[in-house]
């Protein structure tokens, strides 16, 4: 049975074209699906279990989508709710949904799909030989897994299908693959499986597969042979090039995409323009395999305090690296002498913004900037230690002279206090998959009613 999926944008919180959304709703989709996150902004969201998007932006956009859902009379699904898709961010999204339902006078049946994994479950799966590393993977053992602040498994189509089967108006899913919320309904209705996953991958970033990426809204028609994709904004065209080029995006292999239960192979896919706006794709293949779900986990790798000084004096700008090298070794002595800390207890790094701030040792260009920002980063086992080191180094970062025979220089601190306590430094600590006998074995669905 043909299935029409409306994708309002690549992620909730980045905005979409309202006129295009209305046009998509008028096209009578069978489901509205949107992504709520990814790992792309770093490990903090997962480590802390909080959304990186503002609640206000999320709520404003979700309001439009909940209204679109009632107009269309079809389910609304969000994957990877709250950026990282932990149980806490699923509940955060649920609270927003319940508030909106009350404000809009809606009564909605909401299925929450939980993807967080108890550390003990993963430790047991590791001991049972059911956790396998991808390449490259950080080394793990039971102790390393016990240390993770959050672990999520990436749900696939099966778990979304189970959530939809509860008769939910709205599905708030924890961590899912980028594609699962879009592929789930076409797959359960018997559409071509290669097309379902391929079309989902093309549409998962919204209008990024079109000539106007920021317009957001995309409509995909799936059937038993392939899929057709069209952007809903007037200004956005889907062309064979814009659509096929999207397989490159944030994808290490542009022809192959791993999902729970197999992989998509688009080597044989053919992209054909139906007209100026729509592209037809056929020939993608789904290759079934063992049922495994990808795991993501983060842990605290220390606590940080930073300090920023700006060098403007030409002599110091020219000798910035020499200056930070001297300053660093002097400070290590001070930290040892006054705090009794050895280099194993902390790290102190100075990055030169204006010289090689973004690329570090890989930087190949040199030049003479007007000024240099010296970003000092202290990492230690506790915030108290990092903050104390920050205070200790502060006067020297302000006044340290390049040579002994000169008057004390003073550099620019852009704010007071000069140091900033950044809190925990989280790091990604899993790049693994876990084998499951039953797709629901690591996931939980809770259904409740919310609203007026």
């Amino acid at each position: 049975m043909a299935t029409r999926v409306l994708v309002p944008s690549g992620v909730l919180g980045l905005g979409f074209d309202r006129v295009a959304l209305a046009r998509g709703v008028a096209a009578r989709p069978d489901i509205i699906a949107i992504d709520g996150g990814s790992t792309d902004s770093g490990p903090w969201s997962l480590g802390a279990g909080v959304s990186k998007y503002s609640r206000a932006a999320t709520k404003a956009e979700w309001r439009h989508l909940m209204q679109a859902r009632t107009q269309a009379g079809v389910p609304l699904v969000i994957g990877t709710a709250g950026t990282c898709g932990t149980d806490a961010t699923v509940d955060w999204m649920y609270a927003i949904t319940a508030e909106l339902a009350a404000e809009l006078g809606q009564r909605v049946r909401v299925a929450r799909l939980y993807s967080s994994q108890p550390n003990d479950r993963i430790i047991a799966a590791l001991a049972g030989g059911r956790v396998h590393p991808l390449d490259p993977a950080p080394p793990v053992d039971a102790a390393a897994i016990a240390d993770l602040t959050n672990i999520v498994a990436l749900a696939g189509a099966e778990q979304i299908q189970a959530a939809l089967a509860t008769g939910a108006d709205i599905v708030i899913a924890g961590r899912t693959t980028d594609t699962a919320t879009i592929a789930a309904l076409p797959l359960s209705r018997g559409d071509h499986p290669g097309a379902a996953w391929h079309g989902a991958k093309i549409a998962e970033c919204g209008a990024l597969c079109s000539t106007n990426p920021t317009s957001g809204v995309i409509l995909v028609d799936f059937d038993d042979r392939g899929f057709t994709v069209e952007a809903m904004a007037d200004s956005a065209l889907c062309t064979p090039h814009s659509v096929s080029a999207h397989m490159l995006y944030e994808n290490s292999d542009p022809f192959r995409l791993h999902e729970p239960g197999g992989h998509l192979d688009v080597t044989g896919a053919r992209y054909r323009a139906l007209d100026a706006r729509r592209v037809r794709v056929e020939g993608s293949e789904w290759v079934p395999g063992p049922y495994s779900v990808k795991l993501e986990g983060a842990r605290v790798a220390g606590y940080q305090t930073t300090i920023l000084a700006i060098l403007r004096a030409p002599r110091y700008v020219a000798a910035a690296r020499e200056w930070t090298d001297k300053l660093g070794s002097f400070l290590r002595g001070e930290i040892a002498g006054r705090m009794g800390l050895s280099p194993a207890d902390y790290t102190l790094e100075f990055r030169l913004i204006g010289a090689d701030g973004a690329l570090g040792a890989l930087e190949s260009r040199t030049g003479q900037p007007v000024e240099i920002g010296v970003l000092g980063i202290v990492t230690a086992a506790t915030q108290e230690t990092a903050a104390e080191i920050g205070k200790l180094i502060n006067p020297f970062v302000l006044h340290y002279p390049l040579t002994e025979d000169e008057e004390l220089p003073t550099f620019a601190f852009p704010y007071s206090p000069a140091t900033t306590d950044r809190g925990a430094l989280y790091e990604f600590a899993l790049n693994h998959v876990m084998l499951l006998d039953d797709p629901m074995a690591a996931f939980l669905i809770v259904v409740t009613e919310a609203g007026a």
């Binding site: 903090w44 980063i377 790091e427």
Partner: protein, 98 residues
């Protein structure tokens, strides 16, 4: 000639926290043929200080794109990371001679 002056665009992005992918959009078949022949994978590996055998390269004539994927030079968000989204590595590649 600098690669960046020859082609339409060079883009680098994370492909998950552990991989980086670099897409060279050549613009047309002629420039694709030139880049595909001239770009030495070993030189790209040296640029990113990564062993040659870790690089995956795809020369995609249909899109006039050369794509190179490699384990991220530093894991995204680790203490050593300087560019959370990995977009600046493209500029290193733009500046090589072809």
């Amino acid at each position: 000639m600098r690669l960046g002056d020859l082609v339409l665009k060079v883009r680098s992005k994370n492909a998950g926290p552990f991989w980086l992918t670099v897409d060279i959009f050549c613009g047309d078949a002629d420039r694709f043929a030139r880049v595909s022949a001239a770009l030495d994978t070993g030189e790209v590996a040296r640029l990113f200080a990564t062993p040659r055998q870790m690089l995956k390269r795809f020369d995609i004539a249909d899109l006039a794109v050369v794509k190179i994927s490699l384990p991220r030079p530093v894991v995204q968000g680790s203490r050593e990371d300087r560019d959370m989204h990995g977009a600046q590595w493209a500029h290193l590649l733009e500046e090589i001679d072809v």
